[in-house]
């Protein structure tokens, strides 16, 4: 009987095609090169691997855990065009793309306030003298495509545990979420069997995030939702968590002899192969086992008890069980020493799990701790008192080996060195060439009035109010949310959220601290259709703009990258990924904003029944976290008072490519918004100075929908109309256009690095002095009534709308969802 539980798999005597078959049949997601490396290792050992050993290697070497694409060797070939034809190419080789771009910029910037970057479960930066904040953003795309509620819930659950498992444990204080879905109006007939309707995915994901976040008592206060046909088969679900921790708890250390303590939920067959699954494309027959179901109540108990144990210094290291389950968590903690694990001790949800299933199961709400022998009794009591189940799985050793036992039988014996360093480097080919899209003829816009276009834009899915979603989340719990998702008396969309994480602690010590954190994001896949470099540059600019808009310090802002792409095996897509990474380096270097953590999800592909590949549009999410010196100086986006002056900061350019205006008319266009990082950061620093001087009444950045949408949102949020004169807008547009189209360009071009700010007449001089040398102009003022009036370049009124109607348009799409 005993033999049947662990199988030995013959790989040392097999040919290449059998190796591939073994990888495929067991869902290992390893390629031939990797399988052959394993074969060589076992040939030297003179034996065959057990199933659990193969599984361990596959989990450890998965895309999810090792990022083998972005750390592999990439040869990029860029075509050079002369006129219409390709006349040559340039080549560039990357040994390790991540190291040469994103890690590099952080290293070169060498900020003293970065505490832990790219090595732990999350990035950690300074908060103040004693405290640090950690931030991590994860994706949970594949599980959410199959089971939106469970997939999204466990996505949030997983990233919360990342924060709980960073250093010696952070306390989760804020969740963020960003989703990309197909259009909720997609006809059912267009969907292949097995694909859930986008509307259902949307509703399921939102309830999953809501139920998990709310039940854990963590506010969800920042995020965005993007709709594009390209996400119909593969929705994207990004979940982020911010935590706060003492500075002396930021690093972990495992000592041989420490016990391996598993804490939290029981192990079942949930989520087996999640790590390797993320390296595979979805299709109709994708199996059910990767789906996990979350239990937030359990996670809440685990969080509270782990933080108690942390406070009392009862362990020296911990990590969460995420992808790959125990195999990854224990393997990772013990990689520099060695481990002995006794699998029969693992408490199970039900009988019948094979040893390898116990080892790689991704059952949720589990943490693994390294506990010194003399602390065991005390720590067990902490968990026992709160009804959290614990198991001593084994111990850390100094053998450099990963040894797993099941009922006295040694079923896994792997060299840690091979397991963690043995992965052969992938070599991949990438190509890049500029894409060309149809430019809409100007006559397309001829029949529409600017006011009508503005209302249509406000009602478009990517701009309209997401109140239906936001209101389901608790963004107030813990009582630390200062700048909330909606601003103003009449509730417009804020740019970023601000938290005051030490308010309660400060009360106890009677020393009030007004220091806070601002959290924001930037994302725009429309731009990526044209050029992933400028999409990424724009996302970084947008994230930083949002931070600065509310009062965050651009000189103390850290970034997180999240790449989501279709397939890195397609050279064009990999080329886009490389360009995106290059933009991360270029822009962040000038902005002086280090990357502290990141994550990639590179196989967002669906193969339909006819074998057609459907890839998502390459999508880069940039999240930003910044320190706010004094939360009392934070600014919101609603117009505050009639008579105040309205300024536009930054230059407007002929950049309607990828804009929501073009999207509205079914075009992509070509003039994608670019970023001049020197000018941008200079402007943002000046604006920050003005905000700190307390002379900015309201501030909103121009993003989707450009100046027109930003003004409308500020106006209806405050309940005051505005009158704006487009002839005052500073712009740089070379091409001659009709008066009508020029007005549209000024209103809806999505040029980066622009802000709309409101100041009082009194502060005019002071403000202009701070902004000296930057591009800015006073474009109008706030009105007493509710009229939204815009004059075109020839001073004729082109828009005259009531702000209530504008708001109604903005609220329409999800008002009765």
């Amino acid at each position: 009987m005993k033999e049947s539980l662990v199988k030995t798999i013959d790989i040392i005597n097999t040919d290449d095609s059998t190796l591939i078959k073994i990888s495929r049949d067991n869902l290992l997601a390893l390629n031939l090169d990797e399988m052959k490396t394993i074969q060589d290792y076992y040939k030297k050992q003179g034996r065959n691997p057990t199933d659990i050993e193969l599984e361990t290697i596959a989990q450890t070497w998965s895309e999810h855990c090792k990022h083998k694409t972005l750390t592999g060797t990439i040869n990029l070939r860029c075509n050079i065009h002369t006129g219409q034809s390709v006349t040559g190419y340039t080549e560039k080789a990357y040994n390790n793309l991540l190291k040469e771009t994103i890690f590099r910029v952080t290293k070169e910037l060498d900020k003293k306030w970065c505490i832990s970057v790219f090595e732990d479960n999350a990035g950690i930066i300074d908060f103040d003298k004693d405290w640090a904040v950690a931030f991590k953003v994860e994706t949970h795309n594949h599980p959410s495509a199959l089971e939106p509620y469970g997939g999204a819930g466990t996505g949030i659950g997983g990233v919360i545990r990342d924060i709980l498992g960073v250093g010696l444990g952070g306390k989760p204080i804020l969740n963020t979420d960003v989703f990309c879905f197909g259009s909720p109006d997609t006809p059912y007939e267009k969907l292949p069997a097995g694909v859930l309707h986008p509307k259902r995915i949307f509703k399921g994901v939102v309830s999953g995030v809501r139920d998990y976040g709310n039940r854990m008592g963590i506010p969800t206060a920042n995020g965005t939702i993007i709709f594009d046909e390209g996400y119909t088969y593969n929705p994207l679900v990004y979940c982020g968590t911010v935590g706060i921790m003492k500075k002396n708890k930021c690093f972990k250390k495992v000592n041989p002899g420490d016990y391996i303590l598993a804490v939290g939920g029981r192990t079942g067959r949930d989520g087996i192969h999640g790590a390797t699954f993320s390296s595979l494309a979805l299709d109709k027959d994708t199996p059910l086992s990767p789906v996990q179901i979350g239990n937030p109540i359990m996670e809440k108990k685990v969080t509270d008890t782990v933080l108690q144990a942390c406070e009392r210094n009862l362990y020296t290291a911990l990590t969460d069980c995420g992808a790959g389950g125990f195999s990854s968590a224990v393997g990772e903690l013990g990689k520099n020493c060695g481990v002995k694990v006794y699998l029969e001790r693992v408490p199970l949800k039900y009988e019948g799990l094979l040893p390898w299933e116990i080892w790689v199961s991704e059952a949720q709400e589990r943490m693994v701790l390294a506990v010194p022998k003399d602390k065991l009794e005390e720590i067990l009591k902490v968990f026992h008192d709160e009804n959290v189940e614990t198991t001593v799985l084994g111990e850390f050793t100094d053998t450099g080996r990963l040894e797993v036992f099941y009922k006295d039988e040694k079923i896994c014996d792997l060299d840690m060195q091979f397991l963690h360093e043995g992965l052969p480097k992938r070599t991949m080919i990438a190509t890049f060439q500029h894409k060309k899209f149809e430019e809409p003829s100007r006559s397309v816009f001829e029949s529409s009035k600017p006011g009508g276009i503005l209302k249509d834009l406000l009602s478009s899915l990517n701009i309209c109010s997401k109140e239906w979603v936001v209101r389901q989340y608790d963004h107030e719990v813990q009582g630390q949310t200062v700048v909330k998702p909606f601003h103003g008396k009449y509730e417009g969309p804020g740019d970023a959220c601000v938290m005051q994480p030490l308010s309660t602690t400060a009360l106890k010590s009677k020393k009030v601290t007004y220091r806070g954190i601002a959290v924001a994001c930037g994302i725009n896949p429309q731009y990526g259709k044209i050029d992933s470099y400028w999409m990424t540059a724009s996302a970084i600019d947008e994230a930083l703009r949002n931070i600065v808009s509310v009062g965050g310090d651009p000189e103390k802002t850290a970034l997180l990258d999240n790449f989501c792409w279709g397939s890195p095996n397609i050279p064009e897509q990999l080329g886009d990924i490389v360009r995106a990474a290059e933009a991360c380096y270029d822009i962040a270097k000038v902005f002086s904003t280090p990357f502290i953590s990141g994550k990639d999800s590179l196989n967002n592909d669906y193969n339909d029944e006819k074998g057609n590949r459907k890839s998502i549009p390459g999508t880069m999410l940039i999240s930003a976290i910044s320190i706010v010196q004094d939360i009392r100086k934070c600014v919101t986006m609603d117009i505050k008072k009639p008579g105040n002056l309205v300024y536009l900061l930054g230059e407007t350019k002929d950049e309607l490519g990828g804009s929501q205006l073009y999207n509205l008319y079914g075009f992509v266009g070509n003039n994608v918004p670019k970023v001049n990082p020197q000018e941008s950061i200079g402007l943002m620093k000046s604006l920050h100075k003005a905000i700190n001087a307390g002379i900015i009444e309201s501030c909103h950045d121009c993003s989707e929908g450009g100046l027109g949408v930003a003004l409308a949102e500020m106006s209806f949020a405050g309940g005051y109309g505005v009158e704006i004169n487009l002839s005052k807008v500073k712009y740089d547009m070379r091409k001659v256009e009709s008066e009508k189209f020029r007005n549209l360009q000024l209103l809806f071009s999505e040029s980066n690095s622009r802000f709309v700010v409101e100041i009082t007449q009194k502060n005019r001089k002071k403000f202009e002095k701070i902004l000296r040398g930057k591009v800015f102009s006073c474009i109008g003022k706030a009105r007493k009534d509710k009229k939204f009036v815009v004059c075109g370049i020839n001073k004729k009124v082109i828009i005259n709308e009531n702000i209530d109607n504008l708001k109604a348009s903005w609220q329409k799409p999800f008002s009765n969802f």
């Binding site: 469970g150 059912y188 059910l288 789906v291 179901i293 109540i297 059952a363």
Partner: protein, 157 residues
């Protein structure tokens, strides 16, 4: 033995989930549904006395202000009193092996009440669709709105 318990709203209490399902059905392009009622289902496996099961229902499972319960005998099919229109019932449960977090919590709560002879709890939802419907539409409603067959199973009656 298995006890099946159905928790439902008292008459006149607003059933928010029912309204949501009704509008989702309308969005599917299916008309003819007049009302949707939802019920929470628990299947408790164990050896409980009648008194114990009653205590569990009253003290743990229902909110007595707005909800009522009925204990369903597995052998008999529930007959509904409403007759003025057709009633279709769809029950949705997690498949075996899929974690049922609410079920786990319920099991623990029952034991915390000092009732030890209980082995497992499964939870599910029951949807009563009131109105006239084509048979084929029922399947659509079940798979497109109510159950995700990746992790759940459903039964139409």
């Amino acid at each position: 033995m298995n006890y099946k318990i159905e928790i439902f709203h008292k008459d006149g209490v607003f059933d928010a989930e029912g309204e949501k399902v009704k509008s989702d059905i309308r969005d599917l392009g299916i008309s003819g549904i007049k009302k949707v009622k939802t019920e929470q289902l628990y299947i408790i496996n164990g050896n409980l006395t009648d008194k114990e099961i009653e205590t569990v229902c009253k003290e743990l499972l229902i909110d007595s202000v707005v909800q009522e319960y009925r204990i369903v005998d597995f052998q008999t099919i529930t007959s509904h009193t409403q007759t003025e229109s057709d009633i279709y019932s769809i029950e949705v449960f997690y498949k075996k092996g899929v974690t049922d977090a609410v079920g786990e919590s319920t099991l623990k709560a029952i034991k915390d009440m000092g009732i030890e002879n209980v082995n497992s709890v499964r939870t599910g939802r029951k949807y009563l669709l009131i109105g006239s419907l084509a048979e084929s539409d029922l399947g659509k409603i079940a798979t497109r709105i109510l159950a995700n067959t990746v992790v759940q199973e459903y039964k139409i009656s």
